[in-house]
């Protein structure tokens, strides 16, 4: 085990997979000579050269399409979006082409591709650079959606995503790149897609959180333990699609209460989906209505105080847990 940042864990995963399979290549804006806009690809161009690590023009639809075609013809592209906000320009290639190719070709052409980059808010970057888009991509059959919340998960999940034979939407979080954790150094360390992880065990209330809201939920759980002696379990699905609803439902059957925390907007969100699936599978176990904390239904404001107000927070999570526990 080594302690490293999420940024370095992702970098290590990319490096190991570049070494492992010569059909893997990385393409995106500023990924090569610039070392990556957020330094996730630092050093890779120097080590692997122009063929394997490729600076693309600012042409998201174009290089997403190029990735889809390259995957169809036998390569395993890792396409970096400088942020997922820009993937909206490439949505036609991701949704209409990558997601549907296997099905509409009757199983002839699978698309082994990873689209990755930071998702959600950063630090005061305002409306067009602060969107959490997982619900949009998770809505389409044919895509897998992955959102790690710590360095070990980031590495293990990214390696699995690159080895997966399907298009994988891999969503990181800019605010989290510097967060450190223990990471196994074994080159064959992977974490299977579609398996949730209980980040903290508890008995009285379940919080389902993902990406940036996991550390928030863990902090809230600590405080609630101290202040109210309530034991909170934190479940991180890690993969949004396929969703490991069983792990979440088992937790709810134990705690009888559920709070869902997410950085995306609430309308038609992944939290809404989890809420529905829990109603389907664990309705009789619920002792309180499910509560959701999401980003406010507004484009992201720039002003620091307004931005903080729009986003989920530890305090909002504590308030929600109190509500479902009738405290």
């Amino acid at each position: 085990m080594a302690t490293m940042t999420i940024r370095d864990a992702l970098n290590q995963a990319l490096r190991e997979e570049l070494i492992r399979d010569e059909n893997v290549f990385i393409m995106g804006e500023e990924v090569a000579e610039y070392d990556g806009a957020y330094k996730v690809t630092r050093g890779l161009w120097k080590e692997f050269g122009d063929k394997r690590v490729v600076d693309a023009p600012i042409t998201e639809l174009g290089f997403a399409g190029l990735g889809v075609g390259a995957a169809m013809a036998g390569l395993r592209p890792v396409i970096e979006f400088m942020t997922w906000n820009f993937s909206i320009l490439a949505a036609d290639q991701i949704i209409n082409h990558a997601a549907k190719m296997l099905y509409m070709s009757g199983g002839e052409f699978n698309i082994p591709i990873v689209f990755r980059g930071p998702n959600g808010s950063a630090y005061q970057v305002s409306s067009q650079h602060s969107q959490a888009l997982e619900a949009m991509y998770a809505n389409f059959p044919g895509l897998k959606v992955v959102m790690p919340s710590n360095a070990a998960d980031a590495k293990g999940l990214l390696k699995s995503a690159i080895r997966d034979d399907n298009p994988v939407i891999f969503m990181e979080q800019e605010r989290m790149y510097g967060m450190k954790a223990e990471v196994p150094e074994d080159e064959d360390f992977t974490i299977p897609l579609g398996v949730a992880d209980v980040k903290r065990e508890g008995t009285d209330c379940t919080i389902v959180a993902r990406s940036m809201t996991v550390p928030m939920a863990l902090e809230a759980a600590e405080k609630i333990k101290e202040q109210f002696d309530v034991s909170v379990e934190v479940v991180d699905p890690r993969t949004i699609k396929p969703l490991d609803i069983d792990t979440i439902a088992n937790s709810v059957r134990k705690t009888n209460r559920l709070v869902i925390v997410e950085e995306s907007h609430s309308f038609a969100s992944v939290g809404a989906e989890i809420s529905h699936q829990i109603m389907d599978s664990a309705f009789d176990y619920l002792d309180a209505p499910i509560k959701r904390i999401s980003t406010e239904e507004t484009p992201m404001p720039y002003a620091k105080n307004l931005e903080a107000l729009a986003l989920p927070s530890v305090d909002k999570i504590i308030a929600a847990v109190k509500e479902v526990c009738y405290l």
Partner: protein, 377 residues
């Protein structure tokens, strides 16, 4: 039309008689150039001129290949006419975009490829799929939405695919396949396979961002791809004149310093010649080319298109410069075939289409368990 030299009951056939107008002395046509929109009168005047150049090109190609080219064109025509017929009977559902009038493009381009060269196209894909090697049976069964279809009834008219034949589809979003085709060429170069990519699209796709984004990357990175714009003059019901500020599509390549050529899509030999030059450039120099091949779509955009945006007269005049009739006349004049040979070719096409229809009719619907397969690999 002479009767087929067989006892089989002849099917209703396309009108492939030579035009009477071709015997007239035609005034010297102006040079065909993509910078002007060709009007109908000019198009007809071109006929004799085109035939002269076609005759020259024919001499350099073996008879077997020439006959096969004609057969594929006639098959494409019969197949698509049957599609229209069975569509009207309700046997084909959804969208159905026919290729009638554009046959010289698929045949002229694809018959000079290596077997493992890759092809990708738009939703107007039935004929391209067959020329690339998919059986008429598997294409028709796909149109019928049956288990025997090339993609098991999951794609339909717009989504023919075959890995075996290196046919990468059949894509439904205008221009989307231009990005994908660029990536296929990227993979060929990356893996040094020596394959080239033919990437087809209509002229309306040229207004999409993906066209420009792809051409830029292809030239920048030297990708072995031939972009083939099948300019059939209409993006659905909107003529090129009403949709594009620039007249020449071929010249758009110059913005990317890419090789380009304007090609007469009524002349299968001209299409063949231009494609072979581009394929050579792609294979030997790893450089892309944009070909603008001008054709004319006789039918509506899809089967549901009433065609109110153009006159019957316009279509009829174009039909007088039909690429199949021209090629047949040239081959006869070059003594590559006679009328009897042509009858045999037609009969083969009629039989292949009949066999495809029979296969499709008899193929079962996909099993209900297929609904949920092939979502993820």
């Amino acid at each position: 039309m002479p009767k087929a030299a067989t006892s089989r009951k002849p099917e209703k056939r396309a009108n492939l008689s030579s035009p009477k107008t071709t015997k007239k002395a035609a005034p010297k046509p102006e040079k065909v150039d993509s910078s002007t929109f060709l009007d109908v009168e000019e198009a007809i005047r071109e006929y004799e001129d085109r035939k002269a150049s076609q005759l020259k090109a024919i001499k350099k190609v073996d008879k077997e290949t020439l006959r096969e080219m004609l057969y594929q064109m006639v098959l494409g025509r019969h197949f698509e006419e049957k599609c229209a017929e069975v569509y009207r009977m309700g046997k084909i559902g959804g969208f159905c975009h026919l290729y009638i009038g554009q046959e010289a493009i698929a045949i002229g381009t694809m018959l000079s490829l290596n077997k493992d060269d890759m092809v990708i196209t738009s939703y107007r894909d039935h004929v391209q799929a067959m020329v690339k090697g998919l059986s008429p049976e598997s294409v028709m069964a796909e149109l019928y939405g049956r288990e025997g279809g090339c993609v098991k009834g999951k794609g339909g008219s717009m989504h023919m695919f075959s890995k075996e034949h290196h046919f990468y589809g059949g894509h439904g979003i205008v221009g989307g396949q231009i990005g994908v085709g660029t990536g296929m060429a990227y993979a060929a170069k990356y893996k040094r396979t020596g394959q080239v990519v033919l990437c087809f699209f209509g002229e309306a796709a040229v207004n999409q961002g993906i066209f420009h984004e792809s051409l830029n990357m292809a030239e920048l990175w030297g990708l072995p791809v031939i972009y083939i714009c099948e300019n059939n003059r209409y993006g659905m019901g909107t003529s090129q004149k009403r949709a594009m500020s620039a007249r020449s599509i071929a010249k758009k390549a110059e913005s990317y310093e890419m090789a380009n050529e304007f090609v007469d899509g009524m002349d299968v030999m001209a299409v063949r010649g231009a494609t072979r030059r581009a394929v050579e450039r792609a294979r030997n120099e790893s450089k892309p080319t944009l070909l603008e091949i001008r054709a004319y779509r006789y039918m509506g955009h899809s089967m549901s298109d009433p065609g109110n945006y153009r006159t019957r007269e316009e279509i009829l005049k174009y039909q007088e410069r039909d690429p199949i009739i021209l090629f047949k006349d040239s081959l006869k004049e070059a003594k590559v075939l006679n009328e009897k040979d042509f009858d045999e070719i037609e009969q083969r096409a009629v039989e292949a289409t009949a066999s495809a229809l029979k296969f499709a009719d008899e193929s079962p619907y996909p099993s209900e368990s297929e609904l949920l397969t092939d979502v993820l690999a």
